[in-house]
């Protein structure tokens, strides 16, 4: 049983160790097979961990046998298990998509480094979620961020370099803020273990350094999450990154930041302090509302579809932090559901955009002309995922929206209710803009034949689209689990 006892460590170590090996490999198909295998194994680990957590409760794993609070502790409760599964699940689906997509967009010489960066990024995200040590969180955050900068920079377009540089600057500022916050917390409590800090921080909660710490944490994470006025890096990064990277990142990076935000505010500082004594909740709600409205309107005005989807991601971050800001049980449930459902939908949509890029060599609106007929499966996946994002009943997005609306009602916030209702229509507007072009405009004759994307690109995006519908009709498996997570967070 060595394997199952060490699962929390293996979960992170397998992709982390595989990364340097990957850079030594050659022969591009071999690399892909290796990377895909690693991803699938990691996914299997996540499933095993989830089932362990589900049956036996929280797993605490001392790294190297050094017990907490002195050693680094990996602690996997139901919240982290859910995020582990989400990240490795999305990774497994997108890696199938990579077979054709990466082959086309990344030159053969760069592929080993590309996949190395991907594995590092992947391992970093899993590490952030698995560990219970804030300094360790910072380290993994940097691992995954640095790898992400490299991934974004490998986009074909020269603008990818600028986007990566912007991302690097802003991401580093965010990371620095987080480091400063960790410094404050360590100074006040003398510990880096989250559970340990939670106990030691109680007597000093009202002091200025702790308030500074939570402020630095929030701003630093806001940069990583791309909360509204700090979202500028996201648009360019997602737009210019290779398609595979866009769909992987869109479904995971910001979500990991949100995970850290929940973890820190609920499990370290305590919900009372963060959301009742301090106005973090109100700030998140206001920024969330602004983010939803502004980003949706900007998304409507975009001509570049990947950029449109990027702004739509900013709007979705708005929805998610809105639920967190409401700080009631339904609110946080809505946020967790949205994280899962939006990840699924957004990954599929970026994949569809990538498939159009693959076949038509452009992702501007005019490149979508006539795609509806030529690439029916791609557009089907795009439309279904789009409807899910807009929250049309029968899709997963509707369930999340229902929870969010219930949360606003029980918090008595009618203005939020109205904004959420209206913004789902804004979502529909930008989705429909694409649908109309794809089905009504004619293909430019000179471009020659446009064919449906290859099978290995279609399968993952159609699978995700199907998942959006299945979870819309049978969300019980997820809502039940989320209820358990939330009870854990609220100390039930």
């Amino acid at each position: 049983m060595i394997f199952s006892a060490n699962l929390p460590a293996l979960q992170v170590l397998i992709p982390l160790i595989a990364a340097p090996i990957c850079s030594l490999l050659s022969g591009r198909r071999i690399i892909w097979i290796f990377v895909a295998l690693i991803t699938f194994i990691t996914f299997a680990c996540s499933i095993a961990i989830l089932s362990q957590v589900y049956t036996n409760g929280t797993i605490s794993y001392p790294m190297g046998g050094w017990l907490a609070p002195f050693g680094i502790e990996y602690k996997i409760d139901s919240l982290s298990a859910m995020f582990l599964l989400l990240i490795s699940g999305i990774a497994s689906v997108t890696i199938i998509y990579a077979w054709d997509s990466v082959e086309k967009e990344i030159s053969a010489a760069q592929q080993p480094f590309f996949y190395t960066a991907y594995l590092l990024c992947f391992a970093g995200m899993l590490g952030i979620v698995a560990t219970n040590d804030i300094f360790n969180i910072y380290v993994f955050l940097e691992i995954s961020s640095l790898a992400t900068y490299a991934l974004v920079a490998m986009g074909k377009d020269k603008r990818a370099l600028i986007a990566a540089f912007e991302y690097l600057i802003l991401g580093t500022i965010g990371a620095t803020f987080i480091l400063i916050a960790i410094g404050f917390v360590y100074a006040m409590t003398g510990s880096l273990n989250i559970s340990d800090i939670a106990m030691r921080i109680k007597p000093v909660l009202g002091t200025m350094p702790v308030k500074m710490a939570i402020a630095f944490f929030t701003v630093g994470l806001a940069l990583k999450i791309a909360i509204f006025p700090l979202h500028l890096w996201l648009a360019n990064a997602y737009t210019n990154a290779p398609s595979f990277v866009s769909s992987f990142l869109a479904a995971t990076t910001t979500k990991v930041g949100i995970y850290v935000l929940i973890r820190i505010t609920y499990n370290m500082f305590g919900r009372e302090f963060a959301y009742t004594s301090l106005p973090i909740g109100q700030i998140l709600i206001i920024l969330g509302l602004l983010g939803i409205l502004v980003a949706s309107v900007v998304a409507i005005m975009q001509d570049n579809i990947k950029k449109m989807l990027a702004y739509s991601s900013v709007a979705q971050v708005g929805y998610i932090i809105l639920g967190i800001g409401l700080a009631n049980i339904q609110g946080i449930s809505a946020s967790l559901l949205q994280i899962v459902f939006f990840s699924i939908a957004k990954a599929a949509m970026f994949m569809a955009a990538g498939a159009v890029l693959f076949s038509v060599k452009g992702v501007r609106l005019e490149n979508f002309a006539g795609i509806g007929r030529r690439m029916p499966f791609t557009m089907t996946a795009f439309i279904i995922s789009g409807l899910s994002m807009a929250g049309i009943p029968g899709t997963a997005g509707f369930v999340a929206k229902w929870y969010l609306l219930q949360a606003t009602i029980s918090a008595g916030m009618w203005h939020v209710f109205v904004v959420v209702i209206i913004s789902s229509l804004l979502t529909l507007v930008y989705i429909w803009k694409v649908v109309e072009v794809a089905f009504f405009d004619r293909v430019d004759g000179s471009k020659g034949g446009i064919n449906e994307a290859p099978l290995l690109m279609l399968v993952p995006m159609l699978g995700l689209a199907l998942l959006s519908i299945v979870l819309g009709i049978y969300p019980g498996c997820i809502t039940g689990y989320v209820a358990q997570v939330v009870t854990g967070l609220f100390g039930g």
Binding site: L387, G391, I392, P393, G394, V399, W402, Y403, L405, Q406, I409, F417, I421, I422, S424, L425, L428, W432, E436, F439, F440, G472, I473, Y474, P475, G476, T479
Partner: protein, 497 residues
């Protein structure tokens, strides 16, 4: 005879249209495809008839609970008499309009027939879902599925004009559903703690009278498919669709799903007694729904009078007829419910015949305007004969089923002492006569006149056989239902019991 498991009748009725949709999607040979589709569609009336027998005998409750979507609200189906009425209309008219559409699509050499029939059948699937849903959320899901699945039908001819019409269609229908209907449903859920349809309503005594009225307004305008002014705009614009689609949309699936939803909400969410009581509290303002629908009836009729384009005329006539249903409903009395049901049935059969006739005329002669119709009755006696029967039904004369509907509405209005409604009905009858009679007169008693788009002595005969037979069959039902309205009488009598 096939031995059916009667407990699975709901599942069968939902699956049959999906099977047909599957055939339409995957079979490339059109004869095999169309044949299989029609054969499959024949199973639906059989299924629904079985359900009707069970409901009538009261010999069992047909229910199917699927997964829970929101804790406490499942995807849940249960058969009750209102649902059966809607299902019967859908089942019969699906077969008829499928046969007609096959004739039409072939006659006009339309493209993309496979995807056309796929969405056609999915829309039927969604309607059956609406008919049998046991709670508001299930109904809402299928309501939205109707909108989404009919969008490709409305925009079947992919040109600029249909793009704009399609935008209005999806914009108004989804917009109202999301902005008005969804909040209404959420408020209902929060107030009542459930969304299940229950006889007598689930809101009685749970909310204040003011809020009851507000909620009713949210439902009436949130269900834009019922086309109460000012949310009717999508309907005339959707006329850019091929004619069988217009027939399907405006006679069966979309608008009927709309009024049917409102009917179900009034009977099973609010409860008619509750509403009657609440509306009394507000004095004459309590009858606002009556006035709103009366306005829609008159205004839509007036607009219809000005229209020369046949399909536009029929569109506004539909709006006015739907408002009649809502007006019958707005009396909040058992008689009003029966009247509303009959109005739905009568209008469904009459309107589909009219659209069929218009489609047939277009197919053989490319004529689309009232002013071009002179003499067409002599060349197409069956088609125009059927049209005449339908017009008689809508005007409300015997021997057509519209007579029974109109009788019931007036009877209900008299019973509720709503003389205002009686006057409105009288006026609307007058208008109906005023815009339908000239068409009939022209087509039978005038000689073909020269004009733009008219080729004199274009000796076309009747439309293709499939189209004529389905038109005549539907017209026959109008007559049969007048002398034998038994099925619907019994079902309508059971509503709310």
């Amino acid at each position: 005879m096939l031995q059916l498991n009667t407990l699975l009748l709901i599942q069968y009725s939902l699956c049959i249209p999906l099977v047909a949709a599957f055939f339409a999607a995957v079979i490339p040979y059109r004869n095999i495809r169309d044949g299989l589709m029609v054969l499959t569609s024949l199973a639906l009336p059989l299924c629904v008839y079985k359900i009707y027998q069970i409901i009538l005998a009261g010999s069992g409750i047909l229910e199917w609970k699927f997964f829970e979507i929101i804790p406490g609200i499942a995807l849940h189906f249960r058969v009750e008499s209102l649902g059966v009425i809607f299902a019967i209309i859908v089942a019969i008219l699906w077969v008829v309009s499928l046969i007609y559409s096959i004739g039409y699509m072939r006659g006009n050499n339309e493209g993309n027939q496979g995807s056309f029939f796929t969405f056609f059948c999915i829309a039927i699937f969604a309607s059956i879902g609406v008919a049998f849903s046991a709670n508001m959320l299930t109904l809402f899901i299928f309501y939205e599925l109707i909108t989404i699945s009919t969008y490709p039908l409305v925009t079947h001819n992919r040109v600029d004009k249909t793009k704009k019409a399609g935008r209005a269609y999806i914009g108004i229908l989804v917009g109202t559903a999301m902005l008005i209907l969804l909040p209404a449903i959420i408020f209902t859920f929060n107030a009542a703690g459930t969304l299940d349809f229950k006889v007598g309503g689930i809101l009685t005594g749970k909310i204040s009278s003011q809020f009851t009225m507000l909620l009713l307004a949210l439902y009436v305008f949130g269900v834009a498919k019922a086309a109460i002014m000012p949310v009717h705009k999508w309907l005339p614009r959707a006329m850019v669709a091929p004619t069988p689609v217009s027939a399907l949309l405006h006679a069966v699936v979309v608008v009927k799903a709309g009024v049917f939803t409102i009917l179900k909400v009034v009977v099973y969410i609010f409860g008619i007694e509750n509403l009657a009581k609440v509306s009394l509290e507000f004095g004459q303002y309590g009858d606002w729904l009556l006035y709103v629908s009366a306005f829609t009836i008159v205004a839509a009729s007036l607009i219809a009078l000005t229209k020369d384009n046949l399909k536009q005329l029929l569109a506004y006539s539909t709006i006015s007829q739907l408002a009649c249903v809502i007006m019958a409903l707005a009396m909040f009395s058992p008689k009003g419910i029966i009247a509303a049901t009959f109005q739905i049935v009568a209008h469904a059969f009459a309107k589909i015949v009219m659209f069929f006739a218009v489609g047939s005329i277009y197919t053989v002669s490319s004529k689309q305007k009232v002013s071009e119709l002179s003499g067409i009755g002599r060349m197409m006696p069956f088609t125009m004969g059927a049209f005449t029967i339908a017009a008689i039904s809508l005007i409300g004369l015997p021997p057509a089923v519209g007579f029974i509907a109109k009788w019931n509405i007036i009877d209900g209005a008299m019973g509720a002492e709503q003389f205002f409604a009686v006057v409105v009905i009288a006026i609307s009858t007058m208008f109906n006569t005023a815009y339908f009679l000239p068409i009939i007169y022209k087509s039978f008693f005038e000689k073909e006149q020269p004009g733009v788009g008219v080729i004199i002595d274009n000796k076309h005969g009747e439309a293709p056989f499939l189209m004529v037979i389905s038109t005549c069959f539907a017209a026959l039902i109008i007559l049969v239902l007048c002398v034998w309205p038994d099925i619907f009488w019994r079902l309508a009598g059971m509503v709310g019991k």
